[in-house]
Symmetry: C2
Subunit: 330 residues, 2 copies
């Protein structure tokens, strides 16, 4: 076609921005936050509460390595969505799944997926409340998760202030390293593989953090730490200094990578799939946050002119690149 | 694999029943109606209101004939979901779309789809509030629509009583006939083609009907009139006598089929895609319903022992078969 431009040429973030321009929610009185900025859309449902809602499409080629059991496929499809609900500080209240599979799929396979979804929903304190089944050449699952949150406790990506501490839950880089290993047919310890195949959405931590009032902004690290930091930097007009020494590396990962610290830092910054919480906390509230959640302080919010940098062990400050897990490349 | 059974062997309705058994929502206090029975799940959000939510996966091979423009693909993806919201008598309050397309897809194509979605959402009084983009070999769109409804006005599939009048909006069979025609490369008038490619979700009619208090049960006819009648018959423990003469056939369809009444009845009963409302009304409330919505009375609710039958022009009563549009056959 004359003058046509493939989506791969502009990348995921730019395409989302263009589509958000079409989906103008300015005049929708039910909507507090619309598409394109946060992990969930936010809907006004009553005097006291918001509902948050998110949807994510996963499929065989990109999201379900052949090592995954049906149960893990189901768990993953729910977990990625509940992680988005968690990012807003909300309590999960339901999950819907639209599943597409070929007609010759074994019923036990579909039931295994459903059991995994159900178990993840129950783990998050809720259940699977609806869905759709469809025939599809490639196994495709679109999950939709819902949550409720008190208006005063809603957390969004916006709110970071210079001087705030940058915190994450759990470890960084484990899921990415495990994916890399299985793609290269390298044996990988279960403790790493589980991080990739059965991510735990940080729902309880997020609700406690929301209640604490300590958090100034939050999102999840599904696309990797670097990409998430850049998203927060853009939205808040700030920079970040991250301490290389403070990156939370799982012991089994250090061992697996035979303590090559450069590669460990690469994995921690530039691979996705960890589904941890990344958030900022004002210094005077740090103790409150620490009292409700096991967190790692990895750096500080700085002025935009500093950029998003990592303070290395050798004393150098290096720019953190805007790269990570993206569907269309960027 | 030993002892494996493909999903095609048990069919869509049976598979949904099996999965609904896994997704037990009995203990979820937020949920009023869960998966497997109604067009939407129903969530308790406040003293006065329920939220309804539905999700539907569509894709190129099954749902988007090549004749469809990108705008129509987007419209359709939203319309099928808003039709489910309408079935519950709810006011639409938002739409989310998860879109999967290949990397070489033209940006203008994706923007066209998005514009169609947005226009359908605006037509339904709301907007696109969120979503996800994904790479996928086959164009795949999962929509999720949300609505709010006063608790006293919620309509469900349950509530039909013997003696109630059976009503539908719009026409039956137009979309199915148009699909049949384009599959056979037969020229089809635009007035029929539009019914297939740009279905109008009956949101306003449904809200008015809900407010009228006249409706005892409701669903949409997305899988065809026959299948919908059987679903209502099973759930309500009733039968239906439908008058062949009363089936609402579009004039252009009669002309197109050259007035072959047997074939017209086949299309009206056994093809899907019309997205009209099918509902029952107590006889003493029929006028109230008629005063808020243009409807066709097509029959009456009878005892279960009568079955679901059509009273033909020649005086015979024939059984209406349990068949229509289903993803896995039944």
């Amino acid at each position: 076609m004359n003058g046509s431009t493939p989506v791969s040429e502009i990348g995921e973030r730019s395409l989302i921005k263009r589509l958000s321009g079409i989906f103008n929610v300015g005049c929708n009185p039910d909507v507090r936050i619309g598409s394109g900025t946060d992990d969930c859309a936010v809907i006004d449902i009553s005097e006291e509460e918001y509902m948050v809602i998110t949807t994510d499409m996963l499929h065989r080629k990109t999201d379900f390595p052949l090592q995954m059991t049906p149960w893990q496929i189901g768990w993953m499809s729910a977990a990625v969505n509940f992680s988005d609900v968690a990012s807003m500080g909300a309590r999960p209240i339901g999950f819907l799944s639209a599943m597409g599979f070929s007609k010759d799929t074994d019923i036990a396979f579909v039931e295994g997926i459903s059991k995994g979804m159900d178990d993840c929903a129950k783990f998050c304190g809720t259940s699977v409340i609806g869905g759709d089944i469809d025939t599809h050449d490639e196994l495709t699952i679109t999950g939709t998760a819902l949550g409720k949150v008190k208006k005063s406790e809603l957390l969004t990506r916006k709110g970071a202030r210079v001087g705030d501490k940058v915190c994450v839950t759990g470890f960084a880089g484990s899921a990415g390293a495990a994916l890399h290993a299985i793609e290269q047919n390298i044996d990988v310890p279960d403790s790493l593989l589980n991080k990739l195949l059965t991510p735990i959405p940080r729902v309880m931590d997020a609700m406690e953090l929301a209640r604490s009032g300590a958090v100034t902004c939050m999102m999840d690290t599904s696309d990797g730490l670097a990409m998430s930091l850049h998203d927060l930097a853009d939205l808040n007009g700030v920079g970040f200094v991250i301490e290389e020494d403070a990156l939370p590396i799982q012991a089994e990962l250090s061992e697996f990578i035979t303590y090559d610290t450069d590669i460990l830092t690469e994995f921690a910054l530039y691979t996705g799939g960890d589904f941890e919480l990344l958030f900022t906390v004002s210094p005077e509230m740090l103790e409150s946050a620490q009292s409700v959640c096991y967190l790692n302080v990895i750096g500080e919010v700085v002025g935009q002119e500093v950029g998003t940098v990592i303070s290395c062990r050798n004393g150098q400050n290096l720019t953190i690149n805007r790269k990570g897990y993206l569907q269309l490349g960027d």
